[in-house]
């Protein structure tokens, strides 16, 4: 005679189950299939609305004022598309000597430059085009007009 152990399986609870971060605007998230029906309910998904390559778009935070002239300020969020081909006059995130920096990519004659938009910073000439890595192209800027979360984050991790 085998002994059979009875196991109590807890009854399913009726508490709604929420997935973290998934269906809200994720930093650099991209539309999930569930959001395909979002508009039906009258919701906007900025990812779907604005981003050309949502899956290749990453949000980054700005530190410093080197791009103030382009209306990009410390604390702003940038949407950066890694898949877009960088071209003359694009604001890009570039890798210079292993560090990431946001500058405008400008071509003058045969030379390419990374140009700050603030007289206090100096332009960076790309002497070796192979030495330059474009991390991505900046497509959107999120700037807070009323101090909120982004302002609060300004002095973290810098």
């Amino acid at each position: 005679m085998r002994e059979i152990e009875l196991i109590r399986v807890p009854a399913p609870t009726s508490v709604p189950f929420l997935l973290p971060y998934f269906s809200c605007l994720v930093p650099a998230g991209f539309p999930s299939p569930a959001n395909d029906h979002a508009e039906v309910e009258g919701l906007f998904d900025l990812n779907r609305l604005l981003l050309r390559h949502p899956d290749a778009t990453y949000l980054v935070r700005v530190s410093g004022e080197s791009m103030a002239g382009a209306e990009i300020h410390a604390g702003d969020l940038l949407a950066v598309d890694k898949h877009l081909e960088a071209d003359h006059n694009h604001v890009v995130v570039a890798v210079v000597e292993g560090e990431v920096t946001v500058k405008r990519l400008v071509r003058k004659g045969q030379t390419w430059w990374l140009m700050p938009e603030n007289p206090a910073y100096s332009p960076y000439e790309i002497t070796d085009p192979d030495g330059l890595r474009i991390w991505g192209v900046v497509t959107h800027v999120v700037h807070e007009l009323i101090p909120g979360k982004l302002h609060a984050l300004l002095h973290t991790r810098e």
Partner: protein, 452 residues
């Protein structure tokens, strides 16, 4: 034709995308609680560092060569994996996610549209690189086992430019001679030793063994199928990762349904059943999983079916790693909800558990110790993080004694109507040691990459 795409040194590559200063330098990523090496850059491999090396044993060497050390950051890896898989789903007609960093692509009939599959594979590889910054390799061959093998050769030989297409018998024969039998997909250490003793040293030798011999010495039908696949004959029923003989870094379970399904509860039942199997294997090897992926595929040969034919969703478990079927199931259900398109006929589904590690500090230390009785409300909270080891152990014991699937979770029982168990997730302080964890660059506002 099948393609197998996998990401090179995936965890290290993810770290480098957001910290380019580590390009060209040796980098390693450590497992939960900073225990062992689970990912190595090419430079770290060249130093002789091995997978699974305990950190404290190689500490000196790491220091001596200025190796960059990272704690595992599954929030980041899960999100990057999701991006890779999403793009593959948009690009290849049918995708089978195999682990956090690899996927099979069904490339049947694509020459018509893309010319050579070699060119197409290079295009996909370039696409993943430009969208995520992650380098990959692709093997293309008439069977999954050969695609795995081609991928391996592409990885080892930089001259191939990351892609190897075994498009004819000669090239297949050459490829088989390049791979040791122990490195063939589904051949574990025990089989490799047995094969070596029988004089089977390379994949080429293995492809020559008679069917009856394979059946006798390589676990019956699984072995026979494996040999057939090496000979270039695809076997639809091949699931070498599921034979349970290997302790794996990731576990997947996928099936084509017996008949096409269009009711959510039916597909959920299938997903639940696959997940239950995968979780059983997970517990059998004494691990917990950090990352869960669910994918579903439509029948691409049905009329009026629009691509993408496969969709996947990946989640890094917010409560930390678990091996509890009920906890995993509640997340799987939520993921399936995201993937679900009403009015669609599905013919296949799969689940992948990844980021596998033994339970860390702050968790139940042994999976099979009974949970001590606690006040009701506290137990509830603990359950989310550690699961119900006693319940799970009893479940596994019953099933191994009375046969697979004797006792199942309600959701995994194919019954019409409502299936599913909804669990409660509490954030739990399960964290072990993670001294060198990089920020969650893509999933936390506070952690985004900072540009000057």
């Amino acid at each position: 034709m099948y393609g197998l795409l996998d990401c090179n040194n995936f965890y290290v590559s993810c770290e480098r995308v957001f910290q380019p200063r580590y390009e060209g330098r040796p980098v390693v990523v450590l497992s939960n609680n900073d225990g062992n090496i689970i990912s190595r850059s090419a430079e770290a491999k060249a130093l002789g560092l091995r997978m699974g090396d305990p950190y404290f044993q190689v500490k000196e060497l790491l220091h001596q060569h200025d190796v960059a050390v990272f704690s595992s950051n599954y929030a980041l890896y899960g999100d990057m994996s999701r991006r890779v898989m999403w793009y593959l789903g948009q690009t290849a007609p049918a995708v089978e996610v195999y682990s956090i960093d690899e996927a099979f692509l069904d490339l049947a009939g694509l020459e018509k549209y893309h010319g050579s599959l070699d060119t197409f594979a290079r295009k996909i590889r370039a696409g993943v690189k430009s969208r995520t910054g992650i380098p990959t390799c692709v093997g293309v061959a008439p069977t999954k086992t050969l695609a795995k093998l081609a991928n391996r050769i592409a990885k080892k030989n930089p001259d191939l430019g990351g892609v190897l297409y075994l498009d004819n018998a000669e090239r297949r024969a050459w490829a088989l001679t390049q791979v040791e039998v122990g490195d063939v997909w589904g051949i574990g250490r025990q089989y490799a030793a047995k094969l070596a003793a029988a004089g089977v040293g390379t994949a080429a030798d293995l492809a020559r063994v008679p069917d009856a011999w394979a059946r006798k010495h390589l676990g019956g039908v699984v072995g026979a199928r494996l040999v057939q696949e090496l000979q270039g004959r695809p076997c639809a029923g091949l699931h070498p990762s599921e034979d349970g003989t290997l302790s794996r870094q990731s576990l997947s379970c996928s099936r084509t349904f017996g008949r096409p399904l269009s009711a959510f509860s039916d597909v959920l039942g299938a997903v639940s059943a696959f997940l239950s199997r995968a979780a059983e294997k997970l517990r059998a090897q004494g691990d917990t999983a950090h990352v869960l992926t669910v994918y579903i595929s439509k029948n691409r040969f049905a009329t009026n079916v629009q691509p993408p034919f496969s969709r996947s969703a990946t989640l890094t478990l917010p409560i930390g790693p678990t091996a509890d079927t009920t906890v995993l199931l509640s997340y799987a259900r939520a993921l399936l909800n995201r993937l679900w398109e009403p009015g669609t006929v599905y013919h296949k589904a799969g689940v992948v558990l990844d980021g596998l590690e033994p339970p860390g500090v702050g968790q139940q230390l042994t999976l099979f110790a009974p949970t001590p009785p606690e006040p009701e409300n506290k137990r509830e909270e603990k359950t989310a993080a550690t699961g119900r080891p006693a319940l799970m152990a009893s479940l596994d014991a019953l099933n191994s004694r009375f046969g697979k699937g004797t006792v199942r979770l309600a959701a995994a029982v194919p019954a019409p109507g409502r299936g599913g168990v909804v669990g409660k997730a509490h954030a739990a302080p399960w964290e072990g040691k993670a001294q060198w964890r990089s920020p969650a660059f893509t999933t936390r506002l506070e952690d985004l990459l900072i540009v000057q």
